[in-house]
């Protein structure tokens, strides 16, 4: 760290030492060294603005991202061109074989269909339902804290516990079927846990139920920034609750909606636990409910029969799908804004 003033060229006079951090004025000198742009003593300060200083401050984050993000991604990309095994050992480059196999693999397309379907259904609901919930619990009424806490509780429960509870609710002799039968709405139990479509729909329901409270908090924070005067003015002009929601509330929380949409989209494409808990380790009867992460587990992670190379290729496909949907969402947002 530079703490000494540069000697004045040709003066031959020793310049007094600058205070170090901790000494009087030391902290100020340090701040000046890293502050960009002109300063009072621009000539001297420029010398302190070392090119590497910002990199030094950013290095912990850069190292973290490189080790835990960039390296695994590049390694996955490399592995996708090999026949690597989960147990390691020698791997040969197989060119585009894994990608060719993937395109002709009906199980891969089934998993892709399920993942895309999951995102298409869950994302709009996850954007709108927590917002509605947030609007309902936003007002400071007596006892509203209880409802806010109640809606947030599923977020705190582990996915496995929630999954077990839902198993119990949805089994043939579970609470839901029993109630429906006692109310004479149905005669035979609905096969929530043995029909592949119903398993997928129930898994989406579980994701929604578990995420509602979390995103409700996002929206509650955003709603606090929507000016009350706008609502009051609209009311005076005769706008009803729905029109105010549509024309004032929604534009006011637009940025949060985009954020929730993006996060939920990424999350929906990574669903595993819900399918596992409701559909078992085969991913529903016949494996019909497997999503892409589920399929990656099946093809890549078995220590003896897994193919890390092929699994990596499917992972790359999942990455491309996630990136594609995210970019599409951003593009739609920009078009909407313009």
């Amino acid at each position: 760290m530079t703490t000494l003033s540069p000697p004045t060229k040709g003066s031959g006079v020793a310049v007094p030492r600058d205070p170090r951090p901790g000494e009087p004025n030391g902290g100020r000198r340090l701040l000046r060294a890293i502050r960009p742009g002109p300063s009072a003593d621009a000539g001297g300060a420029a010398l302190y603005r070392r090119w590497w200083l910002p990199w030094l401050w950013m290095s912990p984050a850069i190292i973290g991202v490189t080790v835990f993000g960039v390296y695994p991604f590049l390694n996955t990309l490399l592995l996708s061109f090999t026949d690597a095994k989960p147990l390691g050992g020698a791997a040969s480059f197989v060119g585009l074989d894994n990608y060719t196999r993937m395109l002709g693999d009906s199980d891969f397309w089934l998993a892709t269909r399920n993942s895309v379907l999951y995102a298409l259904i869950v994302v709009p609901l996850m954007v709108l339902l927590p917002l509605t919930l947030a609007v309902l619990v936003e007002k400071n009424l007596p006892g509203i804290g209880f409802f806010r806490s109640a809606f947030y509780t599923p977020v705190l429960a582990s996915s496995v516990v929630v999954g077990l509870s839902w198993q119990w609710l949805l089994s043939d002799q579970g609470l839901v079927n029993t109630w429906l039968q006692k109310a004479h709405i149905i005669r035979e139990a609905i096969p929530f846990l043995s029909d592949s479509w119903l398993i997928l729909i129930c898994a989406m329901g579980l994701t929604l139920w578990k995420g509602l409270g979390w995103y409700m908090i996002f929206y509650l924070a955003a709603l606090g920034n929507v000016a009350k005067e706008l609502h009051e003015a609209a009311s005076v002009d005769g706008a009803g609750a729905i029109r105010r929601f549509w024309h004032i509330t929604m534009p006011g929380v637009r940025t949060s909606m985009m954020l929730v949409g993006t996060l939920t989209g990424i999350g929906s494409l990574r669903v595993f636990t819900e399918i596992y808990m409701l559909g078992g380790s085969t991913g529903g009867p016949g494996g019909a409910d497997r999503t892409l992460p589920f399929y990656i587990r099946d093809v890549a992670l078995d220590p003896l029969t897994g193919n890390a190379g092929y699994g990596s290729a499917v992972s790359v496909a999942l990455f491309v799908l996630t990136l594609g949907l995210t970019l599409l969402a951003q593009r739609l947002t920009k078009e909407d804004e313009s």
Partner: protein, 457 residues
């Protein structure tokens, strides 16, 4: 200028990343000619031919799987006794929770050259570690290691090494055994005689069919998920599940397998199994404990669970010899003890592994009243503790029946990998739902399972 530096930095990071990734892809072995096992540098004495030599001294790590909570005193006693017999040794005991990712984690440890010196593993992990050379080859390093164990168990406890040669790489340890358990009351309600339990697998399905007809959905024979029954049922029926070299599945070629799938399908459709258990993760012990299943899990240790959690169901529980069917004996791989080929104190590790699995120490543990386990040593199984069991308590009954079976039991359990089991079960589930014929489902299951073998080879 800055842009050039930035480019340089990014290029450096990418180069470093690619280099690191390249390292990850390179195979095992060593350029320097040092001894290696599974890509790790090891003492020369740990690999190749010749017995393990060296003094029994130094520090070793011993890892068990989920045993510390219930059996801490027993293992601390064993360690203390070993350290007393070999004063220059220290045994550090660690206990792994043994969850679903156990094999992956242990394999990762092995790849990182940090496998514990002595490690408790199941059959799947034993196969994985032997294949990659992470366990001592006992045929070469300790040729007499098999003497204490029952002949059938030792002979069948062999797994393929990296050259596909079957070797002894593990010492057989304890086993839970296998027996039929059933709810006597429900059996009687279904018109079955508890004194005459089935002796064949298809006989069990015949009885289950009667249960389906009598129960009217109030109780069931057993859960529907095929994962709970394969490959045990197939093995008892003496179906050739795999070729002898283990390189190809052949179960679909045997008409008995088709009969089995058809029996499962018929039972499922007639309500002898809970419809929602087809692919679910329900634990049969829990459902049996609720009094909803006639047949309970086949692991006798589950009786302790029922005794503690559902005493009324426990009172109605009967125990019988497992269906020996065409095979004539039971199969079941025990828990194993392996010695890491990467151990820096292999002589000490091997000595401790043999001490832990000797007849005296195995018998002492089997006598623990809180557990139903069976030793793998001939001397222990011949002990009066197993021979002269009195009383008709289900716990005591199970101990008597299973100890007798363990003398001829083999470890030839077909250890399907999770991937293979899922691939096969998924197709059978489709057959049970009527979406495929039994033969079509089996053909597809065999094709997918063979693809997995090929993929892993």
């Amino acid at each position: 200028m800055r842009a050039r530096r930035l480019t340089g930095c990014v290029a450096g990071v990418i180069a470093l990343t690619l280099t690191a990734a390249g390292c990850g892809l390179s195979g095992g072995g060593s350029d320097s000619g040092d001894a290696t096992a599974g890509g790790c540098k090891v003492d020369e004495g740990n690999v190749g031919s010749g017995k393990i030599t060296g003094d029994v001294k130094g520090k070793i790590t011993f890892q068990t799987t989920n045993l510390k909570k219930d059996f801490g005193d027993y293992f601390n006693g064993i360690i203390k006794a070993f350290e007393k017999a070999h004063p220059d040794t220290t045994v550090k005991w660690v206990d792994d929770p043994g969850d679903a990712t156990f094999t992956q984690r242990l394999v990762a440890d092995a790849q990182g050259c940090t496998l514990p010196d002595v490690v408790n593993i199941n059959v799947n992990t034993a196969i994985a570690l032997t294949k990659s050379g992470y366990l001592l080859d006992l045929d070469k390093k300790a040729p007499d290691a098999g003497k204490p164990f029952t002949e059938s168990m030792w002979k069948s406890s062999m797994y393929a090494d990296s050259t596909d040669t079957k070797v002894h790489s593990v010492l057989p340890w304890y086993s839970g055994g296998i027996a039929q358990t059933f709810n006597i009351d429900l059996m009687k309600k279904a018109g079955l005689d508890p004194a005459k339990p089935p002796t064949t697998v298809l006989g069990l399905f015949d009885d289950a069919q009667k249960i389906a007809e009598a129960s009217d959905g109030k109780y069931y024979a057993f859960l529907a998920n095929p994962q709970l029954r394969i490959p045990a049922d197939w093995q008892q029926m003496d179906i050739q599940v795999l070729t002898p070299d283990g390189k190809k599945f052949t179960f679909a070629d045997d008409p008995k397998t088709t009969q089995w799938v058809e029996a499962m399908t018929k039972l499922y459709k007639s309500g002898g199994m809970p419809r929602d258990s087809l692919s679910s993760t329900q634990d049969p012990a829990n459902v049996y404990g609720q009094g909803k299943l006639v047949y309970g899990p086949t692991n006798p240790n589950f009786l302790r669970f029922i005794q503690q959690n559902n005493p009324s169901v426990y009172k109605e529980t009967g125990v019988a010899r497992f269906m020996l069917d065409d095979l004539g004996h039971t199969v079941g791989a025990p828990q194993y003890i392996g010695v890491a080929s990467t151990s820096e104190n292999a002589a000490t590790a091997l000595s401790f592994a043999q001490f832990l699995t000797n007849a005296k120490n195995q018998l002492e543990w089997a006598k623990d009243p809180n557990v139903v386990i069976f030793p793998s040593t001939t001397e222990s199984l011949n002990d009066p503790f197993f021979q002269s069991v009195e009383g008709s308590d289900p716990f005591a009954e199970a101990r008597k029946i299973v100890a007798s079976d363990r003398k001829t039991a083999t470890a030839d359990e077909i250890a399907l990998t999770p991937g293979e089991l899922n691939a096969i079960s998924a197709q059978i589930q489709l057959a049970m739902q009527g979406k495929k014929s039994a033969q079509d489902a089996l053909d597809e299951a065999q094709k997918k399972a063979n693809e997995l073998i090929e993929q892993g080879s």
